[in-house]
């Protein structure tokens, strides 16, 4: 199942080789300087050893060229590493446009995963190989952190807001999933397994089994939307007390303050749970908050439903 002793975790995502190359690069650069210093110190310590304690050293006080040299050269090397590392970083944090979304919630001491096709998992995450996946997650209680070493991704789960990681698995197999932010007694038990499957196997897994009763996430969202009477204010043509939700996801929204924000998952989540935080220009502030009335899974399902609402009233089938 898992490999034996090795220095690196398996490279199982497109990000992994990038990160590993950066790691090797920094090892080489810093290793070079380390060797230089260690060799010098050892050599000088031996060569200039005075067993008597009576002699004195040479009257050298310094050298400005040398100081400038060993200040500026390391500085420029540092800038080089910084630039390289920042580029890799932006690849890590910027998901591609088309991703398969999976919602997740961390709570003491387990991870719940919610696939948009309807599958639910606990401490296990099935994903297809060769396809970009984005996990949108939060915490129900304290800070947690979703960490998948084989993919080289990690982000804290913060209660009250969404975090996201993305990865494109490149190897079929089973990989560790850890909580990496201390969260109490069973922090080290809050672990799981990521199963990367061939595309066909994943399709079979995703659409099968009793876990899909209740329908896809978007379908459940639609049911909740009706049940909570959201449609009373959010009329499709925008004539209601609240703005229309058609084509809302991903669009730019102008707030009362004049600020323009993107309607992403975080925005939608906040609008449902803390409706007064960002209010849309041109509408009264009458949206109630649904904190306590909708759980995280409910929020995820509503978001997926809203995502499925395209302009002109067409609903796209939610399976992507």
């Amino acid at each position: 199942m898992f490999s034996g002793f090795s220095l690196f975790p398996t490279q199982a995502s497109t990000l992994a080789p990038e990160v590993d190359n950066l790691y090797l690069g920094v090892i080489l650069i810093t290793g070079f300087f380390a060797v230089v210093v260690v060799v010098c110190v050892t050599y000088f310590a031996i060569k200039y050893r005075d067993r008597t304690g009576e002699r004195i050293g040479a009257p050298i006080t310094g050298s400005v060229p040398l100081e400038l040299g060993w200040s500026l050269i390391p500085f420029f090397i540092a800038i080089g590493i910084f630039v390289w590392a920042s580029i890799v970083f932006f690849h890590i944090v910027r998901a591609p446009d088309q991703t398969l979304e999976i919602y997740s919630t961390g709570k003491r001491w387990m991870w719940r995963f919610q696939h948009i096709d309807g599958q639910r998992e606990i401490n296990e995450l099935h994903v297809p190989v060769g396809r970009p996946v984005r996990v949108v997650f939060t915490s129900e209680d304290v800070l947690h952190d979703l960490f998948i070493p084989a993919f080289r991704v990690k982000a804290d789960a913060v209660p009250g807001r969404y975090s996201a990681i993305w990865f494109e698995p490149t190897r079929i197999g089973e990989y560790h999933l850890f909580c990496a932010e201390y969260c109490g007694t069973r922090h080290s038990g809050m672990i799981g397994t990521v199963y990367v499957m061939a595309a066909a196997d994943y399709q079979a897994w995703a659409s099968g089994g009793g876990a899909t009763e209740g329908g896809t996430l978007a379908q459940r969202g639609e049911a909740l939307f009706t049940q909570l009477a959201c449609v009373t204010c959010h009329l499709p043509d925008g004539s209601g007390r609240g703005p229309s939700l058609l084509g809302l996801y991903g669009s730019q929204v102008t707030l009362d303050s004049g600020e323009v924000v993107t309607a992403d998952e975080s925005y939608l989540r906040e609008s449902i749970l803390m409706s007064q935080a960002k209010t849309v220009k041109g509408y009264e502030h009458v949206m109630p908050t649904f904190q306590g009335l909708v759980n995280e899974e409910g929020v995820a399902s509503l978001i997926e439903y809203i995502k499925s609402l395209q302009a002109a009233g067409n609903r796209v089938a939610s399976a992507q």
């Binding site: 690196f8 975790p9 990160v19 050298i60 060993w70 500085f75 304290v142 991704v153 913060v158 922090h187």
Partner: protein
């Protein structure tokens, strides 16, 4: 041989004998010794926790302790070591003892405040130990919310209050040191004739003064939220748990410079003495200390790269984190160059310097890995970070502290310890340390998260290596306690200047007079004027 009875000269130790004369002293030297006692106790207490942690981690299963107990142990290890050993060790023990001597003063600017500092420190420590006795805390030494405010059922309040109280000790010491260095230097002791240890202490005091109040108010907010249910970080009210992290690290990052700057100052002193020459690039080293103190305040959010800050914010802090590494690199190069064409005397203090140079190098360079955003995502919250900070804190700061203890021990006590044993201890510590923490870099990249009580079996080999190293390290640390104690009674008498060092502290007897100097010295040359002097025999 006939025993000749010689009247012992008056020293700060023998001129008054009662316990009260020690507990009510205004003498900076006695206060330094008082700190030594508490810090040593704290070191062994923290070390005990470390031993238990490494024993548990030798096997993947949680077979020695329950998860809850383990979590309390690593928390108490961190709290004890950070606040009661690393922060005070060099400044409060060695700085208090040596600094006024080194600048030719009779005492620090505010001796009574100095004593108060010690009491505040000790009372804070007692609070914290009380909290341990009552079951301890399990939040990690970083006290992140909301776990610390709502989730944990441990003695968060008591420990938070204990650390809060101790913080004032830092603030008072920082104020005291800054005023002393500004106003009480002996005539002729211009800023650029100051020993580099003084520059280091001054820079440290700057950080203590500006940074510590922020942790104080942060802990106060934590205590108010947990105790009185004020809701500043509570996500259920719309509070931001990440705000706590910003406030916490705004102090705690500069705090690591409080921990490393004074030991760096010690390295400068010892390396100059045992190479018998001026520190290469004196003013560059001096300004690097100041630069580290200032830049250290600008990098705190590198602890929050995956905590939810914006990528653009992360870019800025990453860049600044690279920048802050440069002055440390400059110092390392200058120390190395100091050895060139020196006359290197292989004595114990110098061995600790060699150890420092190797270990601080690795610790500092691995910081660059963590400053690199593309790597930090993978490495943060893993054992890589644990290895990195132990290399700097233990490999750097504690090595520097030991170098200073071994250097100034003859001055403090008037006795020499066994040099062979000292060098052996230094070697043991160096080997044990690398064996303990080297494997942890690998564990971290492999993905082993930190603060884990149990771990997947494939991580065991490296953990066993680490625990084995810890056993060697433990011996290395116990040894000095033994030969230091032994030297107090049986060590050879030291004389005023056993190391033939420059520096005002070596011009006076060992141990020094209560008032330090009979007449105020007048300074006419720079700090490390070895080449201009004849070597004075001890």
């Amino acid at each position: 041989m006939e025993t000749i009875v010689v009247e012992e000269p008056t020293t700060y130790i023998n001129h008054q004998h009662t316990v009260a004369s020690w507990l009510l002293t205004y003498d900076h030297k006695r206060i330094g010794i008082l700190y030594l006692i508490v810090v040593t106790f704290a070191f062994f207490l923290g070390g005990l926790f470390a031993t238990l942690i490494r024993l548990e981690l030798a096997t993947p299963a949680g077979d020695l302790f329950s998860a809850d107990v383990y979590n309390r142990m690593f928390t108490m290890h961190g709290v004890t070591m950070v606040f009661f050993v690393l922060v005070p060790a060099v400044p409060a023990v060695l700085g208090n003892f040596a600094m006024p001597l080194m600048i030719g003063a009779k005492d620090v600017a505010f001796p009574k405040l100095n004593l108060l500092s010690w009491y505040v420190f000790t009372i804070g420590f007692i609070f914290t130990v009380a909290s341990m006795v009552l079951g301890g805390v399990d939040t990690g030494w970083t006290f992140y919310t909301p776990y610390s405010t709502q989730g944990s059922e441990s003695n968060v309040l008591l420990t938070g209050i204990g650390v809060f109280i101790t913080g004032f000790s830092s603030i008072l010491t920082g104020v005291n040191f800054m005023v002393t260095i500004h106003r009480m230097r002996a005539p002729g002791m211009t800023w650029f004739r100051l020993p580099l240890f003084i520059w280091a202490l001054y820079s440290t005091a700057l950080v203590m003064v500006l940074g510590t109040p922020v942790i104080a108010i942060t802990l106060l907010m934590l205590v108010l939220e947990r105790g009185l249910h004020l809701g500043i970080f509570d996500p259920r009210l719309g509070g931001d748990p990440v705000l706590f992290q910003h406030l916490f690290w705004f102090y705690s990052h500069p705090a690591v410079y409080i921990m490393i700057l004074p030991p760096m100052g010690v390295i400068s002193e010892v390396i100059a003495c045992f190479s018998r020459k001026n520190v290469f690039g004196y003013s560059f080293v001096a300004f690097s200390s100041l630069a580290i103190a200032v830049f250290g305040f600008l990098v705190w959010a590198h602890h929050l790269f995956v905590a939810g800050i914006s990528p653009y914010s992360a870019l800025i802090f990453s860049f600044l984190s690279f920048a802050v590494a440069i002055p440390s690199a400059v110092k390392t190069f200058n120390w190395t160059a100091t050895l060139y064409e020196g006359a290197i005397w292989w004595k114990t203090p110098m061995f600790f310097v060699f150890g420092f140079l190797g270990l601080f190098l690795i610790g500092g360079l691995t910081g660059l890995f963590l400053a690199s955003l593309g790597l930090d995502v993978h490495l943060t919250d893993t054992y890589f970070v644990v290895a990195h900070f132990h290399y700097i804190m233990v490999g750097g700061a504690i090595m520097g502290y030991f170098a200073g203890l071994h250097y100034w021990w003859p001055k403090m006590t008037g006795r020499m310890y066994n040099d062979t044993l000292g060098k052996f201890a230094a070697l043991l510590i160096f080997v044990g340390f690398n064996l303990t923490f080297g494997p942890q870099f690998i564990l971290g990249y492999l993905g082993m998260p930190r603060r884990y009580h149990v771990y997947p079996p494939e991580f065991q080999v490296l953990n066993v290596l680490s625990s084995a190293g810890a056993s060697i390290l433990a011996v290395g640390y116990v040894l000095p306690a033994l030969y230091f104690l032994y030297s107090l009674k049986f060590g050879a008498k030291a004389g005023a200047n056993p190391w033939k060092a420059t520096g005002l502290e070596w011009t006076t007897q060992s141990p020094p007079l209560p008032e330090n100097f009979r007449t105020t010295p007048v300074v006419t040359e720079g700090a490390y004027a070895y080449s201009k002097r004849e070597m004075r025999v001890a």
